[in-house]
Amino acid sequence: MKRQKNSMMMVLLALVMAVALGALALTGCGGSSSGGSKANDLKLVNSGKLTVLSDCDYPPFTTLDNGHAAGFEYDLCEAIAGKMGLQVNYLEPQKFDTIVTTIKSGGKADIGVSCFTINEERAKEIDFSDAYFDSNQGLVVMSDSGIEGTDGLADKKVAAQSGTTGEEWANENISGAQIVPLDTATDCFEALQSGQVDGICLDLPVAQNDIKMSYPDAKVILEIPTGEQYGMVISKDNTALKDAVNKALGEVKADGTYQKLMDKYGFQ
């Protein structure tokens, strides 16, 4: 028994040390990344590179093409980084609802680009760039379900991607429904197809694209005019980067590159 007590003390000690180390590491990260010498005062994680974090699971905006990031947002990031004289470095995909936290705590990536709707709740944690896309929400059900609107979904299950404005909308507007938060839009469609849920709520362009590409037996029953806009997520500690991104975004819009991208992906 004595040995056991000792070992418990050791475990406690180890825990305390781990926590302390974590704290050190976190606070350390905040201050150390200020060594960007090339780009003027942009506190970049890797100098010369614009390190981007995305969930890469929201086609046509952000997706993986043979293991490489692709999509509208990827092209847009390349264009913006081009204007800034930087290279784009897409990190490994990370779950959507963790990206804002990661950007906020800093040290891993410079910007988060994953169809983040500019809203007040997120704006408390991080800064947004200027808007780069106008979006809306869509409510999707299976074509043969006979559900016509939100009334048909009362007492049913509605899936939405965790942490999205779609989840928020569903919570606020579909009374009586149980909202099931899932990790990705693909999970939502899988759950819909398999009958785990009766409806899903997600960004309209993504819903339309997914239905066209992979789920022809589902349909959008409600186009919800929310008028939300996507913005890039940047740490509040890095206003210089935000200004630079906004400047580059303005240039990309002004010189027609943006419109070319919109045309390429069939957006109006």
Partner: protein, 502 residues
């Protein structure tokens, strides 16, 4: 006058009666009036039966911390009013009245205008007074526009109840008309938890604590307070999943362990494939297959039931191996002894071998239980509302890690005592296995020594009992380990006595 009858008429035609609003209190004369005005509208205005500005919806964002979905009074939230501008109308200004008890001190407005699904650039000026919002649109909002007013940081009445927004709008001609009553927003009274959170929000020490990036992210006091009650139900559900799943896994595992040690090659093969496939693939994958695969085959099972099944199947494979090892660790002599007493194969198994195995496998089984309990968190990925899922949804809403830490606490509440129990049982088993005398050297307190003395006395008794039996039944077997075992043999032989001995 006309405008008000319009309003009444509209309420009548849509059939939507704001709960708790003034319409509910209408007397018969009002109803008659409504009927006539409805008739009037129907006769006169059918082609252009449109409002200047129709209220589509009014909703409030849930401001309950945690996984709840209620709109609480007294705590800032966001109210979204949505309406459409009617044909041939242009709106230049709006005025929205809030019922008494609302706090608009911090409130601010965001206006979104859309034509169909496309955003329109609308500039506006807005101001909140004590009880009302005034918006003036610098350019008139054209007809056919969907107008969204997001009123941020509005506190609804703390005592709860239904909140109905009323107001007026001004069209291009400068004519001011009444706005339809909004659908009621039901507001819930502030809970104790929320009250504590509110107090913490204002506490100085709390602000200082949260200003540290690490403490604020991992151990935010407000979120600890609000997470504990809202994670509690998730915890219960996680417990339910394992407390049903694990007992289910035991007979399945036992069955497969019999198959595995059986002499039939086919049975052995089936069991080996089952165990190897399940132990050789991640539980996460099995969950995905079960949750997304089965429904595609048209098999619809309740999420919780399916979750329990997957956990049970997964655990049964591990338990199978635990039981098999346990059974095979029983000295061969025990089988021989039972056989020599005339017991059948199943009698041997259930009366002699299994009881001894139970004692040996309990520590490993408990460890397996702990593993299963922790692994139930994987079900969160497929939408089973359990502990991890609750924590995840709060984290997703708040962008803070604290709920995960609280969830860790909930896991530890169960696992730590179990781990301790495993250690104790293991020690006891080790002591029972012929090291009873080592207790003498243990410098423990009196109570412990007493207990140890009791235990060693019991061990002595068992040993003497065994010696008795060994001599009478001339059994072979290792001395210490067989202590209890032979007790069982004796019991077994009395139970199955008449037939076995005859």
């Amino acid at each position: 006058m006309i405008a008000s009858s319009y309003r009444e008429a509209h309420v009548g035609t849509t059939g939507r009666i704001p709960a708790g609003g003034r319409v509910r209190k209408t007397s018969t004369s009002h109803r008659l009036a409504r009927f006539f005005s409805l008739l009037l509208v129907a006769m006169l205005c059918i082609p252009t039966a449109a409002f200047g500005l129709t209220t589509n919806s009014t909703t409030a964002r849930s401001n309950e911390t945690g996984s709840g979905n209620a709109v609480l009074g007294g705590i800032p939230t966001r109210i979204t009013w949505e309406g459409s501008v009617g044909a041939d109308e242009q709106i230049t200004a709006m005025h929205i009245d809030f019922p008494s008890g609302c706090d608009l001190d911090e409130a601010y407005l965001k206006v979104t205008a859309l034509e169909g699904l496309n955003r329109l650039e609308v500039t506006s000026e807005s101001s909140f007074s004590d009880k009302a919002l005034d918006v003036t649109f610098t350019t008139p909002v054209p007809s056919g526009t969907t107008l969204r007013l997001e009123m941020q940081a509005v506190s609804l009445p703390a005592h709860g109840g239904d909140v109905v927004l009323t107001g007026t709008y001004t069209d291009q001609q400068g004519q001011t008309s009444a706005l339809q009553d909004s659908p009621a927003i039901s507001v819930v009274q502030v809970t104790t938890t929320e009250r504590i959170v509110g107090a913490l929000d204002n506490a100085e020490w709390c602000k200082a604590w949260n200003s540290n990036k690490f403490l604020g992210t991992f151990l935010k006091p407000q979120l600890i307070v609000s997470s504990i009650p809202s994670l509690f139900f998730g915890w219960l559900r996680a417990l339910m999943l394992v407390f049903i799943g694990f007992p289910l896994a035991i007979p399945i595992g036992l069955g497969f362990s019999f198959m595995k040690i059986s002499h039939s090659r086919i049975l052995h093969f089936i069991a080996a494939v089952y165990v190897n496939v399940i132990r050789g693939t991640p539980l996460f994958l099995q969950i995905y297959i079960a949750f997304f695969g089965l429904p595609l085959m048209g098999i619809q099972i309740n999420n919780y039931v399916l979750g329990v099944c997957v956990l049970a199947i997964n655990s049964s494979a591990y338990l199978c191996e635990i039981f098999r090892a346990g059974i095979q660790s029983i000295p061969k002599g025990q089988f021989e002894a039972a056989w020599s007493l005339g017991m059948s194969k199943s009698q041997t198994m259930f009366n002699v071998i299994i009881p001894q195995t139970v004692r040996r496998v309990i520590p490993t089984m408990t460890s397996e239980f702990i593993l299963l309990y922790k692994d139930s968190s994987l079900l969160s990925a497929v939408g089973v509302m359990e502990l991890m899922m609750f924590a995840k949804s709060i984290t997703a809403n708040t962008g803070n890690i604290t709920p995960y830490i609280v969830a860790a606490g909930y896991y530890l509440i169960v696992t730590l005592p179990l781990i301790r129990l495993v250690n104790k049982v293991e020690q006891r088993v080790a002591r029972g296995d012929g090291s009873a005398s080592s207790n003498a050297g243990d410098t423990r307190k009196r109570r412990k020594t007493k207990r140890a003395a009791k235990q060693s006395a019991m061990a002595m008794q068992a040993e003497t009992a065994q010696v008795g039996l060994v001599t009478s039944g001339s059994l072979s077997g290792s001395a210490g380990a067989a202590g209890h075992a032979v007790g069982f043999v004796a019991q077994g032989s009395t139970k199955g006595g008449p037939r076995a001995l005859s």
